[in-house]
């Protein structure tokens, strides 16, 4: 039963942090190149435009949920299982979500990269 709780919490971490990453990425694409915007309009404009973006605020909320889910997962399972499992599953989930929701071109190269990194993270904790 404890096992099921742990994996449930890991799943929640993966879902919440993928949602957060996708929302933050969408927000920053709407804001536009920060370096360019800073040079043209100044830091205050950049900060204002980011902080008033609804996707950004929702993304932060999702990240906070991911953080608390991670705390719960850690209280049920070992850190050596929970941390790498959620990090490595998040890499793969992000590749899928970025393709579906952000319409990024996830070619062979990017799939390979996501899978290699996910595998590497798992091995680091082994």
């Amino acid at each position: 039963m404890k096992h099921a709780y742990t994996w449930g919490a890991v799943l929640a971490v993966v879902l919440a942090s993928t949602t957060g990453d996708v929302l933050l990425s969408r927000a920053m694409k709407q804001v536009g190149d920060v370096g360019e915007l800073w040079r043209h309009a100044g830091l205050l404009t950049v900060a204002g435009r980011i902080l008033r973006n609804p996707s950004f605020l929702l993304g932060i909320l999702a990240m906070a949920m991911a953080f608390y889910s991670l705390l719960f997962a850690l209280s049920w399972g070992d850190v050596s299982l929970v941390a790498p499992a959620s990090a490595s599953l998040t890499f793969v989930a992000n590749a899928v979500a970025a393709k579906i929701f952000l319409h990024e071109r996830v070619d062979h190269r990017r799939w390979m990269a996501a899978l290699l990194v996910a595998g590497g993270v798992l091995l680091l904790a082994a």
Binding site: D21, V22, L24, S25, M28, K29, V31, G32, D33, V34, G35, E36, L37, H40, A41, I50, L71, S75, A87, F91, N94, A95, A98, K99, L102, H103, E104, R105, V106, D107, R109, R110, M112, A113, A114, L115, L116, V117, G119, G120, V121, L122, L123, L124, A125, A126
Partner: protein, 153 residues
Amino acid sequence: MTFRKYLVLSGVTLFAAIGDSLLARGMKQVGNISLQRLPDVILTILNPWVALGIIFLLGFFAAYMTALSWADLTYVLPATSLGYVLLALIAKFLLHEQVTTTRWLGIALISAGVGFVTQGPALTRHPRDQKEASGDRLAEPGGTRPVGTRMDP
């Protein structure tokens, strides 16, 4: 990809790894936190290591947001995953943990993944995307509308 952009990606990588290491060191000093006394978490920021770690993680967040403003999520995440390698090296040389063969293999896989993704384009260009091509990739058909319209106040 310009030098400045590689600098931002390095910032994402370095700040995350250093921030996490500082937090880990600080939290070891603070000790266990129980869920029953969650408000104690607020007091942990009084620990100098934790405070410094949070400053580094804020730097990480700023660099991460900057990177996402001009690169795809599926580019930024693998490209900055060298932070895991850096964490393993910090663990070995500063915290004197043992790094096993399996871990070195994991480091090799992550490095290979980083190599793969950084060879490719950083940003997907959509036909309706009006951003100017930054020179690392030829503009695609349909991407020839006037530039700058996105920047309008």
